[in-house]
Symmetry: C2
Subunit: 157 residues, 2 copies
Amino acid sequence: MKISEKHQDQHIEDVKNIFSSYLEKNSLRKTPERYAILEEIYNREDHFDAEALYIHMKMQNYRVSRATVYNTLELLVSCDLVTKHQFGKNLAQYEKSYGYKQHDHLICVDCGDVLEFCDPRIQQIKNMMGDILKFKVTHHSLNLYGKCNGACDKTKK
Amino acid sequence: MKISEKHQDQHIEDVKNIFSSYLEKNSLRKTPERYAILEEIYNREDHFDAEALYIHMKMQNYRVSRATVYNTLELLVSCDLVTKHQFGKNLAQYEKSYGYKQHDHLICVDCGDVLEFCDPRIQQIKNMMGDILKFKVTHHSLNLYGKCNGACDKTKK
DNA sequence: TTGTGTGCAAAAGCTTTGCATGTTG
DNA sequence: CAACATGCAAAGCTTTTGCACACAA
């Protein structure tokens, strides 16, 4: 086993432990479906939508329903293991978020490709606006939209 | 007539002229429905969704269909007279955008209230990230989510 | 054992589409 | 008058809900 795989294993164990604590603390049940969905998400790369996750689990012959997928995604968002996005379309996109540093997104309006970037100024804006407007800012969403000029990987619909 | 009303009138004339130019330039027809929807939007304050706009026009006994409302909203977004938002829900929100300075939004997750704010740093981030990632950034969406601690106007659903 | 979670299918909610009709250029 | 826009209703898509059954605690 390669070191990178050991890291991966440790990583997923951490995540499962966090999820277990969350479930216990909220008196929720530890069902195999919930852990299967968590594992499926952490085995995926990039962004995905609920239907894609559901289809992929079905294709592996895992017996799961859309209702459970949506329900579990909501739980995972609540305990910060998954982040939910709306990239301008009427379709929620999700991504795993444990162990990744905070980042925002740059979306190509032509091909739908999503790039990530970090900028410390966004944190400053959050703090300042929270103070000024008397809000307790818990999270944010910053999406930049533009054209990649053919630099994107592919041309999606 | 008060001066503020004159301003308002001038304002809506500007907006209609912009829309007319846009329609001409794109060989689109100047239908009464399109202008009625534009006027309705510029008479409204704050943010609204497509259904609310449709209902409000119906209540005034204006004969218009949802299809036309959606179609026209898209045209108005294309010529920058209207801005479309997704405040975390699966329901598009719109607002008039001519003559208003660029701003972003702070949304209360409890009551749904929306506040607006401006910060020049967001423009800097757009410019810098566009350069670094070789994107031509055309627009953006920055939403801060948090709790108003009862300072919001009302507690919406 | 008890009540929460699940699967399934139907329903709900927003948006788009097809088609016949009306109207702009 | 020809092409495009409209109204209406139906269809499409994503997400939620209701209900009977399964299973975690």
